[in-house]
């Protein structure tokens, strides 16, 4: 039975059901309801909750809990996720899985409270120091977010990577009917600390970065090959293909359907994994496509870089690639269609 739930609350309950037994974080709008909910909910299921003194401490507590093989999680937004980067790098280095939720809000520095996609580059192309990748999941509905939570841990534990749920402020704050996933038995991963040194580890100064690099590349190549997720529509005969994820992906789908009704041959790729980027979706695209168009809730156009890259790589084409950056909020269907017409009228210049 579907139940009307607020995004952040549904995500938090889904985490409990996915076997999360440790949460540490610091309050920040628009993600705080996740920790508020878990502050009382985790103790009901024998889990542990810590309101950390900072985002830095929060992610490092998650680092500790994950090292014991427990499903651990933290959530935040913009500036908070910036602080978490060193911990995400450390988790990645130790190959410890964890779920980091970013309910993205707009702006640099302190920023604003507007729902946004301005953290695309940071989440999908690294953010902390070093040479690592996180799997990044980008839901376009509360239901999809909830369904992706157990998936996030399956992927994280399979590949021993950090998984980021990159959502948007609006998704956390809105309400939709949701069917929550089943309860999973919480598990402790075999490699977790037990105080007996059951799982051998070499010291940091004895590690061989050259050897590790080979393994790392193998791992990331496998993730790229096997874990691309996306949704698409109307690609086979499309003259113009939109690419958009998250809530803008959802409104772009509406725009695409409306434009189709008006006779325009348009299609949509909606990445669900923004890393690995769903490059295989580009193989479904009409080889005679005239242009690619991203719809993004940021100022500078970030997704467009990847779309241009995979247009070159997969389509082997020099067609123009446009960005429609709406800065913040969820771009309305009507606005997307208007901008599309402006592209047709040559009033908007391509980015690539």
């Amino acid at each position: 039975m579907a139940e009307m739930m607020k995004g952040n609350v549904a995500i938090a309950e889904a985490a409990v059901r996915a076997g999360v037994r440790f949460y540490a974080g610091y309050p920040i709008t628009p993600s705080s309801e996740i920790m508020e909910y878990l502050s009382w909910r985790l103790s009901e299921v024998g889990g542990s909750f810590v309101q950390a003194e900072s985002e830095l401490a929060g992610i490092n507590m998650v680092f500790g809990a994950s090292s014991c093989g427990v499903r651990a999680m933290t959530a935040s937004s913009g500036p908070g996720i910036s602080l978490k980067q060193e911990g995400i790098s450390a988790l990645s280095d130790e190959e410890l899985p964890a779920l980091v939720i970013n309910m993205v809000r707009y702006g640099n520095g302190l920023g604003t409270l507007f729902s946004s996609q301005c953290d695309y580059h940071r989440e999908t192309h690294g953010g902390g120091h070093g040479d690592y990748r996180c799997i990044v999941l980008s839901p376009s509905s509360i239901q999809e977010a909830v369904d992706l939570i157990p998936t996030a841990y399956e992927l994280g534990e399979k590949y021993r990577v950090v998984v980021v749920l990159m959502s948007e402020g609006a998704l956390g704050q809105m309400m939709e009917p949701v069917e929550l996933p089943e309860f999973l038995e919480p598990k402790k991963n075999y490699w977790g600390f037990d105080g007996k040194y059951s799982y051998k580890k070499i010291g940091i100064f004895d590690r061989d970065s050259m050897k590790e690099a080979v393994e790392l590349n193998k791992k990331y190549a496998e993730i790229k090959e096997k874990e691309q997720r996306w949704e698409s529509e109307g690609l086979e005969d499309a003259d113009y293909v939109f690419v958009a994820y998250g809530l803008p992906g959802r409104s772009t789908l509406g725009a695409v359907r409306s434009l189709r009704d008006q006779g325009y041959k348009v299609g949509l790729i909606r990445p669900i994994t923004t890393w690995p980027f769903p490059e295989n979706a580009f193989r479904e695209v009409n080889p005679k496509v005239k242009a690619m168009i991203t719809v993004e809730a940021n100022a500078t156009g970030q997704l467009v870089d990847d779309v241009a890259l995979y247009t070159k790589k997969i389509l082997k084409s020099d067609i123009p690639v446009y960005a429609l950056p709406f800065v913040y909020g969820v771009p309305p269907m009507k606005e997307i269609q208007n901008k599309f017409r402006q592209i047709l009228a040559d009033e908007i210049k391509e980015v690539y």
Binding site: S67, A72, K196, K201
Partner: protein
């Protein structure tokens, strides 16, 4: 009649500390205490960054290298999900106090049931002897070449006293490895700290005054004398808090 004295199995291998460094003594004391308390197969070490990092190679136990200063937070995460394991952070003064002041203070503030061992050698040893929060007034380091001027840097921090006076920890003490007698006393402090954790009394901390002959520009024995003659008067040894088995 001499009793047998043997380096505990957990650390019975070469360590890469400089000659005369106190770390090797402190680690041995911790491991001796763990053996004597029957806890050597029940311990996890979140390890700090700095010379304390060298512990990672020689110590055969569950151990996790933490980011610089964050061991207090990492230990919190570990202890909350593995409450039956002893959790001991091993950090230097630069790690625990300078960069990690927030995490170290807040773990103490929450009264986390962990044991924090901080090695106070009054400078950043690993990076070449820069000033830390515990550097003495007038002490020459690579970033206070004319001697520490406390009017612009602040005064050396006495962290255990802060914890003992402001929070509600289970056990707080300061020891030193500067003489056989001080080493024996320090071992007693470490054992009490670990016992407090076993008893689930809450936060326990032992700061240990330790020589850094290389960065102090001294022979090892002179470095020990510096602790005895110049440091202990500012950093007094002894126990600051003792709950005595009271369970929180």
């Amino acid at each position: 009649m001499p009793a047998e004295r043997k380096v505990p199995e957990m650390i019975d291998r070469p360590m890469s500390f400089c000659p005369g460094c106190g770390h090797g003594i402190i680690i041995r004391l911790i491991c001796e205490c763990l053996e004597e308390l029957g806890q050597d197969q029940n311990v996890i070490f979140p390890i700090g960054v700095g010379c304390s990092s060298n512990l990672g190679g020689g110590l055969v136990a569950d151990r996790l290298h933490c980011l610089h200063g964050r061991a207090g937070a990492v230990a919190t995460g570990i202890k909350r999900v593995n409450p039956d394991n002893l959790v001991i952070t091993y950090q230097g003064d630069g790690d625990a106090y300078s960069i990690g002041i927030a995490e170290t203070t807040n773990a103490a503030y929450r009264n986390e049931n962990i044991t924090v061992i901080t090695v106070n050698n009054t400078n950043f040893g690993m990076t070449g002897g820069q000033m830390s929060l515990t550097t003495m007034e007038g002490q020459k380091t690579s970033t206070t070449v004319h001697g520490r001027d406390c009017s612009v840097t602040g005064f050396p921090i006495r962290f255990p006293e802060l914890v003992a006076s402001q929070f509600h920890p289970a056990y707080v003490a300061r020891g030193s490895v500067s003489s056989p007698a001080n080493i024996k006393k320090t071992k007693g402090y470490i054992k009490k700290a670990l016992q407090a954790q076993i008893n689930r009394e809450g936060y326990s901390m032992v700061e240990v005054m330790s020589p850094c002959p290389v960065n102090w520009g001294m022979k090892p024995i002179q470095a020990m004398e510096r602790i005895n003659n110049d440091l202990i008067s500012y950093y007094p040894l002894g126990e600051f808090t003792e709950k005595g088995g009271e369970t929180r």
